[in-house]
């Protein structure tokens, strides 16, 4: 019986069946469910949320060094942080298999960019696998560990949102026949390693390891040529390395052949399932001979790939003339219609929705402890250096209160950098805003910069006791581990004090005058300050009960339609029209009774 699994569920299952002993990561769309599934379903794997992706990969490499199979899972931008250990892990190689899952987000469904992480494999000179559905996500996860151990290298398994979040049928039985050997649970054969030439990367050893990398790359390229998941489809019908197969191809030069990988393969099959295809699954190092032989068989070869011309440039460097990004976009997601248009000129005219429909943008929740903070920041007219989390939503209407967002942890540093070059009176108009999980991920070092280099920056830490945006994952100050076990809660205020911040203030995020007073005081200080707003995310059921109150109602006979309450940006407040007049009502299904709107209603029309 097949199972209907998402790409992320399939990776979790593949990791379990590969005998993984250690799994670590930091939440990030679209990768989050990999570790959640491991923690929920495969409890004998040690699994953790690490403070950030660099820590996750380094810890996983330690487990690998001690002989366990280890996995580190992250979104594409997470690998930027983990790139430091990655580049040198290529030198040390592994002991137990080490696989890095990079979940990319073409189309930027929920990210700050759409970088193509396949480049990391070439950069680090390590193998890269690209599954095109959940079956391959499962198979390749298992294979990745075998390749890792066989070639003594970390391996990147790269998915995209459409692989991670699509569900397809997975046959577990078929894949249970492991291609290259061992699959017993790895924890049983761990030991303290003793191999300094391999694991201590000082210049004399690293130089030798670099030679080994170059040799390994040649062996991997041979392997890629023989890797059965790099395959011809439709033409020639016989297997690529049988004598007859290639002969047939030479004699009969076809018109068009397509080279493709990842989700683009499925789209190509959708629009032209009978076309000759070279389906690539190991996309670094490339199967050079397979590609050369395939290309010889056709007058025209198209390369169909999402995002960058990664395959295309490599293939062109082999002296093979292929057509890729001159026909296909280098940005956004592909889909079957785009590919059909590019290959066959069958461009459908995109039918526009002619109806004028109101947009439904993502917004903060009713009763969210962030609402009052952003209302106040907007009111004070401050420049707000933002960060990555739910609060990034405050950049858009109706909040319009965030002025910069770059990457995890950048807000504090950007505010500090601005302050150092601005005029004195302008320095008081900047604050940095960061969430609890992001602060622990990479905000602390920025705060150290401020204290060490005599800054005066005001940092607001929005502590909602969870990693909310990705679906409420635990973190080092939430009090629970990935597996739901109770643990020490790291105290954020104490961290700030220990670093040397003398002014650490606490505010109640549901008291507008207190928020305004404290922020106004702190931006005028000649010292660094941290303002902590601690109140749990309203979606955190076990914790949020504390501040969930009976819902409020508007007395419509009193409401004068001034719309002042709407400025808080709460989705429970709904503007309605009645007899050509506007009023506000409260959706009792959504309202959490936080009373922020009560404070904004000057005529007292809102009550419980």
């Amino acid at each position: 019986m097949k199972e209907f699994l998402s790409g992320n569920e399939a990776i979790a299952k593949g990791a379990y069946d590969a005998g993984v002993g250690y799994a670590a990561g930091y939440p990030g769309t679209p990768s989050t469910e990999i570790l959640e599934n491991i923690a929920k379903r495969y409890i004998d794997i040690y699994a953790e949320w690490s403070p950030n992706e660099k820590v996750a990969l380094e810890a996983a490499s330690g487990a690998s060094m001690a002989g366990a199979r280890a996995l580190a899972s992250m979104k594409h931008v997470g690998l930027n942080l983990a790139a430091d250990p990655l580049m040198t892990l290529s030198y040390t190689g592994v002991n137990g298999g080490l696989v890095i899952i990079s979940a990319d987000d073409p189309g930027i469904h929920s990210s700050q960019n759409e970088q193509d992480n396949r480049h990391y494999a070439r950069f680090a000179k390590i193998p890269l696998l690209e599954p095109s559905d959940s079956q391959e996500a499962y198979d390749f996860t298992r294979l990745a560990f075998e390749i890792s151990e066989r070639f003594d290298t970390p391996v990147i398994l790269r998915t995209t949102t459409r692989i991670s979040h699509s569900k397809t049928l997975v046959s577990i039985k078929k894949a249970a026949t492991c291609l290259y050997g061992r699959q017993e649970r790895a924890l049983n054969k761990t030991a303290i390693p003793n191999n300094i030439e391999k694991f201590v990367m000082i210049p004399s050893y690293a130089r030798e390891r670099h030679r080994i990398i170059e040799k390994r790359l040649k062996r991997l390229q041979n392997f890629s040529d023989r890797f059965t998941y790099n395959r011809y489809e439709n033409n020639p019908p016989s297997p690529p390395f049988s004598k007859g197969g290639m002969g047939e191809l030479k004699n009969k030069k076809g018109k068009i052949g397509i080279i493709t990988s990842g989700i683009a393969y499925q789209y190509v099959k959708e629009v032209c399932r009978d076309m000759p295809i070279l389906k690539l699954s190991m996309t670094y190092p490339l199967p050079v001979n397979l590609i050369k032989k395939f290309a010889k068989g056709f007058k025209k070869v198209y390369v169909v790939e999402e995002l960058d011309p990664f395959l295309e440039n490599e293939i062109k460097a082999l002296g093979i003339n292929v057509i890729g990004k001159e026909k296909l976009p280098s940005f956004g997601e592909l889909n079957p219609d785009i590919i059909e248009g590019a290959l066959f000129g069958k461009r459908k005219r995109i039918r526009k929705n002619e109806l004028m429909l109101p947009v439904r943008t993502p917004i903060m929740c009713a009763g969210c402890p962030y609402l009052g903070i952003f209302y106040t920041l907007k009111k004070l007219g401050l420049f707000v250096a933002g960060d990555i989390g739910c609060y990034t939503l405050a950049a858009l209407s109706p909040y319009n209160a965030i002025d910069s967002t770059l990457c995890m942890g950048a807000g504090i540093c950007q505010a500090f950098g601005m302050e150092k070059v601005l005029k004195e009176e302008e320095r008081k108009k900047i604050v940095a805003v960061i969430g609890d999980s992001t602060f622990l991920h990479s905000g602390i070092t920025g705060l150290m910069d401020i204290v060490y280099n005599k800054g005066i920056t005001t940092v607001i830490i929005l502590d909602n006791s969870t990693t909310a945006m990705t679906g409420r994952q635990d973190h080092p100050s939430s009090g629970f581990t990935l597996k739901g076990e109770e643990t020490k809660e790291i105290n954020i205020a104490e961290i700030c004090r220990v670093i040397g911040v003398e002014r650490v203030r606490h505010i109640n995020p549901f008291n507008l005058s207190e928020i305004e007073n404290v922020i106004s005081e702190e931006i005028n200080q000649k010292l660094p300050s941290v303002i902590i707003s601690k109140s749990p995310c309203v979606l955190l059921k076990h914790k949020a009960k504390v501040h969930r109150q009976p819902s409020l109602t508007v007395d419509l006979s009193a409401c004068n339609g001034c719309m002042a309450c709407l400025k808080i940006g709460c989705p429970a407040l709904e503007r309605i029209e009645k007899d050509n007049l506007s009023f506000v009502t409260i959706n009792t299904m959504l309202c959490n009774g936080c009373r922020l709107c009560v404070d904004l209603c000057s005529i007292g029309a809102i009550s419980s």
Binding site: F4, T161, T168, L169, K348, C365, L566, R575
Partner: protein
């Protein structure tokens, strides 16, 4: 009249069937598309499903696409090839109309969920006559009293099962298959009302 949905009921083996579920976070869109996918799987079809739900918890739109047939490649549906639209909310159904085949079947829940953009842009209003707008271009459209039926099943959160029940009339899967999957997919304490909601939806008109 010969609608696409009649054709599919008779010819599900020769054509890949494309379904689009559209709603708002919290309406149970993904559970509904999961149950449908499982039913297609049990019936022996290849199935693929693609969700876009990154921001669903923040009140954004949720879209789930399901494709089943003999062999399915792309998990996403080609432009204007949606056979069935299951709209959990009128505005979200209207938003998807340009993606449908011209004789697509539409099942839409008679519910309006206020998008916050209306609060700040007085010009763009929630369409008053949503279902008429749908009916104008798509003859094979049904309006379902989802909330009312869900409430009579004992839980207003079972709108998704009401809609699925209605949809089941047009798909070649047995009643006991549907109910078996529902039993496995919802919390044990809610099985009874979910199945009740499914049956009410199936019988509704």
């Amino acid at each position: 009249m010969q609608y696409r949905s009649n054709f599919i009921l008779k010819n599900a083996d020769s054509k890949t069937v494309n379904l689009l579920f559209a709603g708002v976070g919290g309406q149970g869109v993904l559970l509904a598309s999961d149950i449908l996918s499982e039913a297609a799987h049990i019936a022996g079809y290849d199935v693929k499903k693609s969700d876009i739900h990154g921001m669903a918890q923040r009140g954004g739109s949720v879209i789930s696409q399901v494709r089943f047939g003999k062999k399915v490649f792309s998990p996403i549906i080609k432009d204007r090839e949606v056979d069935f639209l299951i709209g959990f909310e009128i505005l979200e159904a209207l938003r998807c109309l340009n993606m449908l085949a011209k004789d697509a079947k539409i099942i839409v829940n008679n519910q309006k969920i206020h998008p916050i953009s209306i609060n700040f842009n007085g010009k763009v209003k929630y369409p008053e006559n949503g279902f008429e707008l749908i009916k104008k271009d798509f003859k094979d459209a049904e309006l379902i009293q989802g909330i009312t039926l869900a409430e009579s099943a004992g839980d207003n959160k079972t709108v998704n099962l009401v809609l699925l029940g209605r949809l089941s009339n047009y798909l070649p899967f047995e009643q006991n298959v549907w109910e078996g999957i529902i039993k496995r997919s919802v919390p044990p304490s809610t099985v009874e009302r979910n199945i009740h909601a499914f049956r009410l939806g199936k019988r509704s008109k």
